[in-house]
Symmetry: C2
Subunit: 224 residues, 2 copies
């Protein structure tokens, strides 16, 4: 089971695409495995940053704390996602926190090992650059959105985007309202109210089990 997981780990991750089977074997041999329970902490800010994490299965929230103690959800890591960008750099300390939202399997690669891998297989660097680029683009959009749009618009956008990326009309919110709130830069109460509002306007339907059905995506996107 854990031997099998090793394979999954390396194969799951886009950054190791384009590598030969033998090269994947090399990587597999240096990967370490961990399991975390729901609510368990993967790392804290101030922790030293010396490993690259690969989510082999489960779900992890990565967040920061502001000076006033409020939480900001930055990323929701899913199977195949990686974290530890700065593991590659000079930065020696983490700036965020990570917590498992469900039982989660993690593979990790030590900083030194990974740097060697990158030297050996330049395509890995390129792939990592790609991942970073996407993350930057996503974060830029999030920054723009939280800074300039209303909570209502952000929520509407989140709903339509999530539905679109899953290619469905109805989906289950992957987060507790509390976490969704810190992701969108608002409060659980406000999310509740806005969802009720959207429902009254006929834009969505709320179903049991945190399931949201999009009725009118076009109108949702027009919400200001």
């Amino acid at each position: 089971m854990s031997a099998h997981a090793t394979h999954e780990c390396v194969q799951l991750v886009p950054i190791f695409q384009e590598l030969e089977a033998s090269q994947l074997d090399t990587i597999e041999s240096i990967v370490q495995h961990h399991h975390y329970q729901t609510g368990e902490t993967l790392f804290n800010a101030e922790d030293s940053l010396d490993t690259l994490l690969i989510v082999a299965g489960g779900q992890v929230k990565v967040y920061q704390l502001a000076a006033n103690g409020r939480e900001q959800l930055l990323y929701l890591l899913q199977t195949g996602d990686i974290d530890g960008e700065a593991a590659l750099f000079e930065n020696k300390q983490r700036t965020s926190y990570a917590e498992a939202l469900v039982p989660t399997d993690i593979c990790s690669i030590r900083r030194d090992d990974f740097q060697q891998l990158m030297q050996q297989y330049p395509s890995i660097s390129i792939n990592v650059l790609n991942v970073f680029g996407k993350r930057l683009t996503q974060l830029e959009k999030q920054t723009t959105s939280t800074a300039t749009e209303s909570v209502e618009a952000r929520l509407a956008n989140y709903l339509t985007e999530t539905a679109a990326s899953l290619d469905v009309q109805a989906f289950k919110l992957p987060l507790k309202k509390k976490d969704l709130a810190t992701f969108l830069g608002t409060t659980p109460e406000t999310i509740s109210r806005k969802l009720t509002r959207f429902e009254k306007q006929g834009l969505i339907t709320q179903k049991p089990g945190k399931v949201i059905q999009i009725n009118d995506a076009d109108q949702l996107l027009l919400v200001e």
Copy 2:
């Protein structure tokens, strides 16, 4: 003059550190030069993204537009900064706008050329990763800050950080209030009022020529 500028260009940029003089020569030979007037546009969102830009001198603001048309300043590029991260990736379109704030000199490298350089000199990839990592870290902080802290706290933080990074007590605001506002996710009016407030509290002194003097950095950081 322009021949001289070429050298400056490549030498300015941290991503080309660790390269031999001969290698720098190679790069110099493929770099192109541009000059922009104040207010001139370097690129727009939707533009195809096929060059890496190096700021050889001057100042450039990089911003996005939200759905509602409001502007969000993402980066203020100074001499030696680079832009065009995604130039390295699949993303073919830009998502932001760039405008020269003062007369500005730019060197550019075409996407294909740069990708070849990276293949040739892996250290460049590593350096680019470093730049990205820092940018990600900065952006994560900005996101957290705009989403969770008050305008007052963000402004106070901006002032102390800027002063600290320049290692001075008094400095000239590098941006118009309008631009600073879009950076901090607020309005020019609010910035005016908050600065007046800080001054009344004795935390800062406003001097002619957009110069701000920090009187009590410790207290400023405690602003909520």
